[in-house]
């Protein structure tokens, strides 16, 4: 066959070039419509706009502050509560002051004057009442929240005074009022049929930022609230991008598409260390704040035996986990709650790593080694246990695989299954697991919110996992007694009993004391941590 003539060749090459050009024009045509949300310090009208690009692993979703399906960082930017938690304890917020009655059952709040929602609606005690009523309308959704069940009454005494009356002197009330949800205030203009339980019409709060736009699963834009009652933040605009993948997130930070990655489950130790050393980037670590742990289901056929649970606790090499998986960023945790947590300095014998002890415990429990398979057996049944982990977390998979190898050493076959956040949480709440990951709530919620949550079904996995314990009812009663005890000594005594019982029953496998972390490009300043691991103090940050 003859060669193609040059002309034909030119046409073909032309077509190729056209295709490439099409690729480029299509791409640039796309810029006009959505140029916002990129680059920092964009110049608008000669003024420099301070813009921070933050990243989250999923969409902000429904931000209704009285429900639980929105992203906390976003709810924190928009909505404010009566009081807030700081390093120094409970501080005034929309309530400028409060009084607690002698019997610890009546709380009276003085509402701050001249606070308005970003739609112009004034904030007063009546608005607070309407919000509380809306939350109360939905009481069955607040399973974890002890205070709402103890509320006998709440009322607007006058325009600027709001009063809550409890049926018991419940000491963690202020903390629960300060938590991001549900006790935050949304403009009554957003209520639907006088309540918020079936959704809200708009996301109007009193906070430092307003939600300007949300492109679902792409990015959300928060702009500064021009009518904010207090000191305004420096950053005028926060863009929260959605990048589900951990590595892509880190890449985006490296290429300058985003400014900061924040949160324990968003940055693994390797990535943290890499950015900490990389020129142009920095990393910060919080103090240890919560216990990273696994939880064993005491209703499980194999794990219902306390000896087995103790054996598993003895087979965990916490030092190695801390060193090899967390590169020393997180210290090993030898007990459920660190002695530094309030009421938790209890004398307990720490869990220690000893394969001999683990093997001995398993022998005593009647599980004998089948040398052919390397798996222990009892009554002809192999020792097989399931572990579920959350694939959206950056470290759980590694720990799971590591545990799989470690438990093999004492003859336990651990099969592991990763699930997406939502299914994983559903499974925990339903108690449909043998072993799964768990975390304490961290300061300032520990110990009470963590322990309180154990009493309630469908909060986390705790309630379901404890159902196989012999004295589960007594445990839960003790927890409640501790909350309403008015005498410090009595309260401490109750906490001692609770923590000792949980430690001996060994249904929790503490691993490390988790530390919150953030990596960011140099130029972002004042990256700090709130006492709560769930909050991101974006409003405190500054840009240089």
């Amino acid at each position: 066959m003859k060669f193609l003539k040059r002309k034909t060749m030119v046409i073909l090459v032309g077509l190729l070039v056209m295709a490439l050009l099409a690729g480029c024009t299509g791409a640039s045509g796309n810029t006009a419509e959505s140029q916002q949300g990129t680059g920092n310090n964009e110049v608008t009208g000669g003024e420099e706009l301070q813009e921070l690009v933050y990243v989250n692993f999923r969409d902000i979703r429904d931000l209704n502050p009285h429900l639980y399906s929105g992203e906390l960082f976003a709810q924190n930017l928009i909505f404010e509560g009566l009081v807030m938690i700081t390093e120094e304890g409970i501080q005034p917020w929309l309530a400028k002051d409060w009084h607690i009655s002698e019997d610890g059952r009546t709380y009276t709040f003085d509402i701050r004057e001249e606070v308005t929602f970003s739609d112009g609606h004034p904030f007063d005690a009546h608005v607070a009442y309407a919000n509380f009523q809306a939350i109360y309308d939905n009481i069955e959704r607040h399973g974890w929240l002890e205070s709402i069940r103890l509320m006998e009454n709440f009322e607007a005494v006058d325009d600027m005074t709001f009063r809550i009356t409890l049926s018991e002197p419940y000491y963690p009330l202020l903390t629960e009022l300060a938590v991001t949800r549900p006790f935050r205030f949304i403009s009554p203009n957003c209520f639907i049929d006088g309540t918020t339980k079936d959704g809200v019409d708009g996301m109007i709060g009193t906070g430092k930022y307003v939600l300007a736009e949300n492109h679902i699963d792409e990015y959300a834009v928060f702009e500064i609230n021009d009518t904010y009652w207090g000191e305004k933040p420096e950053i005028q605009r926060i863009v929260a991008r959605v990048i589900p993948d951990n590595q892509i997130r880190a890449l985006a930070l490296e290429t300058g598409e985003i400014d900061i990655i924040y949160g324990t489950n968003m940055v693994d130790a390797e990535t943290y260390l890499r950015f900490e050393e990389m020129p142009g980037f920095s990393g910060v670590l919080s103090d240890p704040l919560a216990t990273r742990m696994m939880i064993m289901n005491s209703t499980d056929a194999i794990l219902s035996d306390r000896l087995v649970r103790q054996a598993i606790n003895a087979a965990v090499n916490r030092e190695e986990i801390s060193e090899a998986i967390f590169h020393g960023l997180e210290a090993p945790a030898a007990r459920l709650l660190a002695p530094t947590v309030p009421y938790c300095d209890v004398s307990l014998e720490d869990y220690t790593y000893s394969l001999d002890k683990a093997n001995e415990l398993l022998e005593n429990a009647g599980w004998s080694m089948n040398t052919a398979t390397g798996i222990r057996e009892k009554d002809g049944k192999p020792m097989e246990v399931q572990l579920h982990y959350n694939i959206d977390s950056v470290t759980e998979k590694t720990i799971s695989e590591y545990m799989q190898g470690e438990l093999k050493k004492i003859g336990i076959q651990l099969s592991i299954t990763g699930e997406e956040e939502q299914s994983y949480r559903d499974r925990m709440k339903a108690g449909d697991f043998s072993i799964t990951f768990n975390i304490s709530w961290g300061t300032p919620y520990d110990p009470h919110s963590f322990l309180g949550g154990m009493r309630m079904p469908a909060v986390y996995g705790d309630y379901a996992a404890q159902q196989g314990l012999e004295k589960v009812q007594e445990l839960h009663d003790n927890i409640f007694k501790a909350f309403i005890a008015t005498d410090e000594g009595d309260r401490q005594q109750l906490y001692n009993e609770i923590l000792t019982y949980l430690h001996e029953e060994a249904i929790y496998v503490p691993l490390t004391y988790e530390r919150n972390r953030a990596i960011f490009r140099n130029g972002v300043e004042n990256v700090t941590f709130n006492p709560s691991q769930f909050e991101v103090p974006l409003e405190q940050m500054r840009l240089r």
Partner: protein
């Protein structure tokens, strides 16, 4: 011919019905109760009372065929109900929201596929067994052998990390579409290049080509006028089908590049067990494939009269 087309269109109608039935019925095979799922995603403790209320709210207390009939009526109005995850969002709204991004990505990929595979396919056929053909042959084999997800990540690593010239994902910056579109089109480029090449080669051995040659026609005009035309005709049906495949093929790519389209909507719905969304997605894809199939069959029948005789 007209009869065949009419028959083919009539046959598509029961198929559409079957597709709706399957997308509806599929949901009933899941192990867990959708009511409990709906309750849990809304963080309500599934008490008996709450289950009964939600069951009524979702219309799940009706018998199967009653629900199917009313569901059909609904989807005829493009109403797929509300999402379980975000009760205040309608499923059709969710789909309409993410559809443009997917269409943009698929359209861009389609342009790349057509623009690259046709010229390269022709070149390879013309220069059969020469260097460029051999090189392209290797490219084809590698491109069809590289998994989408691996290629996507390699491209990100090269262009976003090392060279820092393109963004890693999302749909906000200029050029963000390039990497996902290239990743998505790569496999199809290879497929269609091979298709066009082989089809041209096949045509080149046909009698009419010998006849044309013996008539003394120039090679250029033989290839340009006859062979190319015939080969393109044969490939058009396949290219038509590729639109549907490109749209469904976006699933993995969209997830790697955080592209906000229906592929990602579907995956997150699967992970979140947002059944109405999965249902709508499957239905839409089924309808899309049936329509593309129909078009492909009709074009093919028009081009190949032999097929009509087959009853």
């Amino acid at each position: 011919m007209k009869q065949y087309i009419a028959r083919r269109i009539l046959l598509a109608i029961p198929m559409l019905l079957v597709v709706t039935f399957i997308s509806f019925g599929l949901i009933h095979l899941i192990p867990s109760d959708p009511v409990e799922v709906a309750l849990r995603v809304n963080e309500i403790i599934p008490t008996d009372e709450a289950i009964a209320i939600m069951r009524e709210e979702l219309g799940l207390d009706q018998p199967f065929f009653t629900r199917y009939a009313s569901w059909l009526k609904q989807i005829a109005r493009f109403d797929f109900g509300q999402s379980y995850i975000n009760k205040n969002r309608s499923v059709s709204g969710e789909i309409l929201r993410s559809l443009p991004a997917t269409l943009k990505l698929a359209g861009m990929s389609f342009m790349i596929v057509v623009g690259v595979s046709i010229p390269l396919g022709i070149i390879c056929a013309v220069y059969k067994d020469r260097l460029i053909d051999r090189a392209m042959r290797i490219f084809i084999f590698v491109a069809t052998a590289v998994p989408n997800y691996w290629m996507g990540i390699l491209l990100i690593w090269l262009f976003a990390v090392k060279l820092k010239i393109l963004p890693t994902g999302g749909n906000q910056q200029s050029g963000a579409i390039i990497l996902p579109a290239v990743t998505l089109s790569l496999t199809y480029i290879a497929t269609y290049m091979r298709l066009i090449r082989n089809s041209m080669l096949e045509n080149l051995t046909e009698n009419y080509v010998y006849y044309a040659r013996t008539r003394g026609l120039k090679e250029k005009s033989i290839i340009g006028r006859h062979v190319l035309k015939n080969s393109l005709h044969e490939s058009i049906a396949a290219l038509g089908m590729s639109v549907a495949q490109l749209i469904s093929g976006t699933v993995v790519v969209e997830n790697i590049f955080s592209w906000p389209g229906i592929g990602r909507l579907c995956i997150s719905a699967i992970f979140n067990r947002d059944y109405p969304v999965i249902q709508a997605y499957i239905l839409m894809m089924g309808v899309l494939f049936i329509l593309c199939n129909l078009l492909a069959d009709i074009t093919q029948a028009m081009l190949d009269p032999r097929l009509q005789e087959v009853k």
